[in-house]
Amino acid sequence: MSTTQIAPTSQRERLLGGLFRASLFVSLAIVILTLVWLIVSILIEGWPRLNQDVLFHFPSSNPEIAGAQSAIMGTIWVVGLTALITIPLGVGAALYLEEYADRDRWWNRLIELNIQNLAAVPSIVYGILGLAFFVRGFLGLGQTVLAAALTLSLLVLPIVIISSREAIRAVPDSIRQGALALGATQWQTIWRQVLPASIPGMATGSILALSRAIGEAAPLVLLGGLTFITFNPEGLDSAFTVLPIQIFNWISRPQEEFHVLAAAAIIVLLVLLVAMNAAAILLRNKYQRKW
């Protein structure tokens, strides 16, 4: 005979449930605290040195007057050029794969698979590739802004393609059909309807990809960006350095003053990254569309 009373939850079940919840919270807390501790310690260390000297002075062997001007300008040059190369290529490739490629063809599936895999290749491998093909190799560009931008482009291109494809896929088929039914060609449909509707998503993905490029040091160290540069890039064939490399350089010096300077440069880099991510989030929220 079954009882008619609702049994109370057993002590053991309640304990297990509580433990599970607590362990999840601890995992989250460890992640957050590590991040906060990192940021706070950098802020404390770098704050005294965070003045306009960091932004406007060139590197120097005297840590009192040294700054990251050439590294900041180098970063702007390299990442700006990376954006110019990656966005048209990435959007074009994504449009081809989403709108034209016949998925029943093996070569299209192979390309898709490759792009997924390329996004997971370690950045140092791209550095080796850049060194072999762009710096030396048959392009022979030397240790220049252009070689660095080409290498970073290879690195972030898969991310731009994947996020652009998602943005294109989010445009419902009813829009394409509506345009085609009016007698628009496929090209007109894509150019005037699909592309404009997916631009916010593409922009968000591209900014996030570029913010990854900004933080990359490894491939550029390999390309030869690790030098003492006391001038701003003046063109595509200029020698260059970038913020992560400058930071790396300062930290590896023995004098304590350089470590403080490195912390200040890290703050500059962080502000740049947060600003880019904020822009991406704002863009997404402003243009997010429910179909």
Partner: protein, 300 residues
């Protein structure tokens, strides 16, 4: 069994329908039916002969003979899966967008086969407009929604006038004239659908196809679209697919009833046309018992 395709009965059909109406009463008769003048059935705009469509080798609909006339509303009715939307999408070659769709038979537009190898589907769609089941305005302003078609077709003349004319013809102008620059997504579902009709009218088509245009709308919006259809009938040939039999009876001049048949092996369900005739005849005195069972609500 009788021949499933009943040829139109020519000049005698009005008299027949009237006689049928007297005998059966008029459960579905159009309110304007007695006054409504049937335009003479001239050369059809579309003439389908033996049209079969298959998706990836599986037949979806077989052996369809159908005529579409100018200044007539032709309704395609029947249960789900009977291929009526598939047939509709043959008329502007929208089936081309489905991979592995094959169309056999003749789809003649003013005598010209729209599936001939030298015919560009884009050119067909310029002449044959389409309105879809769910309103699908572009994510742009009301004005830009209308202007898109004329722009891609390179139509000459003042765009403001083209937009106004299309909106007036779709009886939408007075509701939206003060907010042409606002997003079409701020409109109600019924307004969006009339915008889609206006968008189709803006390119001056010859035929308008409608694939269950009211199935996502409330009764008031539906009534407005039906009024609009009766108005547009004066200028265009209209083909409408509908699940709503009262709607077919209210607005259409000629009705084709489709049904689903199992093939010999009972593996595929294929759509067939059962009966195609004047709407009054289909609803009041159908020749085929299957049509009668369907329109009286006994099956389907």
């Amino acid at each position: 069994m009788t021949d499933p395709i009943i040829q139109r009965s020519g000049e005698g059909h009005d008299a027949l329908a009237d006689a049928a109406a007297t005998v059966h009463g008029t459960p579905y008769a159009h309110p304007d039916a007695p006054q409504r003048e049937q335009a003479a059935l001239g050369e059809p705009v579309f003439k389908l002969r033996g049209v079969s469509v298959a998706y990836a080798g599986t037949p979806a609909v077989r052996d369809v003979d159908l005529d579409v006339h100018a200044h007539h509303i032709t309704a395609l009715i029947g249960p789900s899966g009977c291929g009526k939307s598939t047939v509709l999408r043959c008329l502007n070659r929208m089936n081309d967008l489905v991979a592995d769709a094959t169309v056999a038979g003749e789809v003649l537009y003013h005598g010209q086969d729209v599936y001939a190898p030298n015919v560009d589907p884009v050119e067909v769609r310029k002449l044959v407009g389409m309105v879809f089941q769910k309103p699908n305005p572009f994510p742009k302003s009301i004005y830009e929604n209308i202007a898109f078609g004329p722009r891609v077709l390179g139509m000459k003349g003042s765009m403001d006038e083209i937009v106004e004319r299309a909106l007036r013809r779709a009886a939408l102008w007075d509701e939206v004239k003060d907010r042409l620059k606002q997003s079409a997504y701020g409109m109600s579902g019924g307004q969006q659908q009339r915008l889609c009709i206006a968008r189709a009218l803006a390119t001056d088509p010859d035929v308008i196809l409608m694939d269950e245009p009211c199935s996502a709308l409330d009764p008031i919006s539906t009534a407005r679209i039906e009024d609009l259809l009766l108005e547009l009938r004066k200028s265009y040939a209209i083909v409408i697919v509908t699940h709503n039999m009262q709607q077919a009876a209210r607005v259409s001049d000629r009705t084709a009833f489709f049904t689903v048949e199992l093939d010999e092996g009972e593996r595929h369900r294929t759509g067939r046309i059962v009966e195609f005739d004047a709407t009054e005849k289909i609803f009041q005195n159908p020749a085929d018992p299957r049509t009668e069972a369907y329109v009286t609500g006994k099956v389907g």
